[in-house]
């Protein structure tokens, strides 16, 4: 029977997790290779991705959120569906050591994120000149670099490590911190003097997915 995978956790993870998952299916917990896996089973796997898909994504997220509130998890991307329990067990047998290593290493860590973008659309041409456009764009990027430096400085007391990814609409800053430092981080963000003309969205805590590569290949 097809199995929808939510996440992997240490075997010490709660026996009583979320009861219902995507499309109201029961959430089951199995243990294999010293790991706990949370999943749903349904003979009709199409139901999990049937429109409106947004609802399925939110239901999936709620399962992860409830578990992550108390333990470290390695979430699967939605939708990760395997043909059955045997296939899942085979996967765990090949990947369990890596998963255990990651869960142990990031056991007490969480991830926070800040998306910084100019209020004005990045690179929006305000003049007809291509040269002016490039100048404007470079100025915006330089400004974002300065902002990231300031952000990292302000958040530094709470953050173990951080990294930045540049996006078309701005920059995305990822911080890894101890689970009990989230309030300290948010308090620091409230003191942050963000330069005029920019908006920053702070989110988290999330599972620490940005600081390791989970693709077993």
């Amino acid at each position: 029977m097809p199995v929808l995978l939510y996440c992997v956790a240490e075997a010490s993870a709660p026996l009583e997790g979320p009861r219902t998952g995507v499309r109201g299916q029961p959430v089951a917990r199995i243990e294999h290779c010293g790991l706990a896996v949370y999943l749903s089973r349904d003979s009709n796997s199409d139901a999990w991705t049937r429109p409106p898909v947004r609802d399925s994504v939110l239901e999936f997220h709620q399962v992860l959120r409830q578990l992550f509130a108390s333990v470290a998890i390695l979430p699967f991307r939605f939708p990760t569906i395997v043909a059955g329990d045997r296939e899942l067990e085979a996967h765990l047998e090949s990947a369990s050591e890596r998963y255990k290593h990651l869960l142990e290493k990031y056991k007490t860590s969480v991830q926070v994120e800040v998306l910084v973008s100019p209020v004005e659309k990045p690179g929006a041409p305000s003049t007809a000149s291509g040269t002016e456009y490039l100048r404007t764009r470079k100025s915006q990027l330089d400004g974002l670099d300065q902002i990231v430096a300031g952000l990292s400085s302000v958040a530094g007391c709470a953050v173990i490590e951080w990294q930045v990814r540049r996006l078309p609409q701005g920059v995305r800053w990822f911080g890894r911190l101890e689970r009990d430092s989230v309030d300290q981080f948010k308090a620091a963000m409230k003191t942050w003097k963000l330069p005029a003309g920019h908006i920053a969205r702070v989110s988290g805590p999330w599972p620490v997915t940005e600081f390791f590569h989970l693709d077993p290949s």
Partner: protein, 76 residues
């Protein structure tokens, strides 16, 4: 560079508004373990998956439009 008047917004993870929905979609769809190979079965053929993802991407684009606050109204 002037400082101090940019907007810092804290989003929750309820999915109840467009901003938090964007964050959730990004995390659920783009971050986490990805199993490759024969373990992943197709859902009624690959087409259905692609249809689903296209719909999600459309929602993201819609949500992203709401991320940028509207330009201030000109004073008359």
């Amino acid at each position: 560079m002037s400082t101090g008047s940019g907007a810092v917004v804290f989003t929750d993870q309820s999915g109840g508004d467009q901003l938090s929905l964007v964050d959730i979609l990004d995390h659920v769809l783009n971050q986490g373990i990805m199993i490759r190979g024969n373990l992943v079965i197709s859902l009624a053929g690959v087409d259905l998956v692609y249809v689903g993802l296209d719909m999600i991407l459309t929602s993201i684009e819609t949500a992203m439009r709401h991320m940028n606050p509207p330009a201030p109204l000109a004073k008359k």
